[in-house]
């Protein structure tokens, strides 16, 4: 916390040592989250550069209502989302196909259990790539929630602050993203 305060003061004064601290302390983590959205590494680097530019342009306005780290993440996620918005439109997901089916609240179809696949197969590079491709199909709001919660493993409070969501809304988005991915994996590996 003390380090963050010192860094923040340095950034506000335009000190070179603070710029160094910003790059050394945060560029890898920010690049990682940007790369989850913008999958071309060169484009992700461009976005990261824009994020840092926005940081120094807006640092005087940062009042410390959240941690510096959360604020940086918020800018990075917004910039990454803006970049993917400018790309080709994604295919629309039909929720009817993805969500579980019930009859008066009861499951009417047998649920296959792919979680029993051998661990080696689940850790397989092909599956990882398939899941990452499937994440790319999620809508922006579900994707952001899933990536921050399940991939970046941030706390619920951090995800809510970064995405400016209430806790129930955040949980709902992560839940729907998981339902979608679960169904996609089931379709690919079980049927």
């Amino acid at each position: 916390m003390k380090e963050e305060t010192t860094l923040l003061e340095g950034l506000k004064k335009g000190m070179e040592s603070a710029y160094r601290g910003l790059v050394e302390g945060y560029s890898d983590r920010l690049f990682r989250i940007i790369s989850r959205f913008v999958r071309n590494p060169e484009e992700a680097k461009e976005v990261l550069q824009t994020v840092f530019l926005k940081v120094i342009e807006n640092i005087q306005k940062f009042e410390g209502n959240s941690s510096l780290y959360t604020w940086l993440y918020r800018i990075a996620v917004n910039e990454a989302l803006m970049r993917i918005r400018s790309q080709k439109p994604r295919r629309e997901i039909s929720w009817e196909e993805v969500l579980p089916h019930y009859e008066d609240g009861i499951r009417t179809f047998e649920v296959p259990d792919w979680s029993k696949l051998p661990d080696q197969q689940l850790a397989d590079r092909e599956l990882q790539l398939f899941v990452q491709e499937s994440v790319a199909e999620l809508s922006e709001d579900l994707k952001a929630a899933y990536l921050l919660k399940d991939v970046e493993q941030l706390s619920e409070d951090e995800v809510c602050t970064i995405l400016d969501l209430t806790k129930p809304a955040m949980k709902n988005r992560v839940h729907r993203a998981r339902l979608f991915l679960r169904k996609r994996i089931e379709e690919r590996y079980v049927r």
């Binding site: 710029y19 990682r32 680097k45 009861i106 689940l122 599956l127 991939v151 679960r182 994996i185």
Partner: protein, 94 residues
């Protein structure tokens, strides 16, 4: 509604257990251990009685954990140096 579904529905109602759909809606908090103890108990009892929901929760849990296996891309030191130079240049602008 089929006779089987009607029977299962009636059985859960008689045992004061949530439906499969309700169990799905509790799945996030169930995994996080964030349900209150009485809800946790009835969800647990439903899972004991319902193979489909057991399989659903197992796959849901696995889906949530797959995020941890994503690769972690990192930046090359040369690009970090370029970023630092860029910031120093931009930061010095009036």
């Amino acid at each position: 509604m089929s006779v089987k579904t009607k029977f299962i529905r009636a059985m859960f109602a008689m045992m004061h257990l949530p439906t499969c759909e309700e169990v799905e809606q509790f799945a996030y908090d169930f995994l996080e251990g964030a349900l209150d103890s009485s809800t946790m108990k009835v969800v647990g009892r439903h899972l004991k009685a319902c193979k489909n929901c057991q399989r659903f929760i197992a796959a849901y849990r696995k889906t949530a954990s797959l995020g941890k296996t994503f690769q972690k891309p990192s930046l090359d030191p040369e690009f970090k140096e370029k970023l630092f130079e860029f910031l120093s240049h931009q930061g010095g602008r009036p």
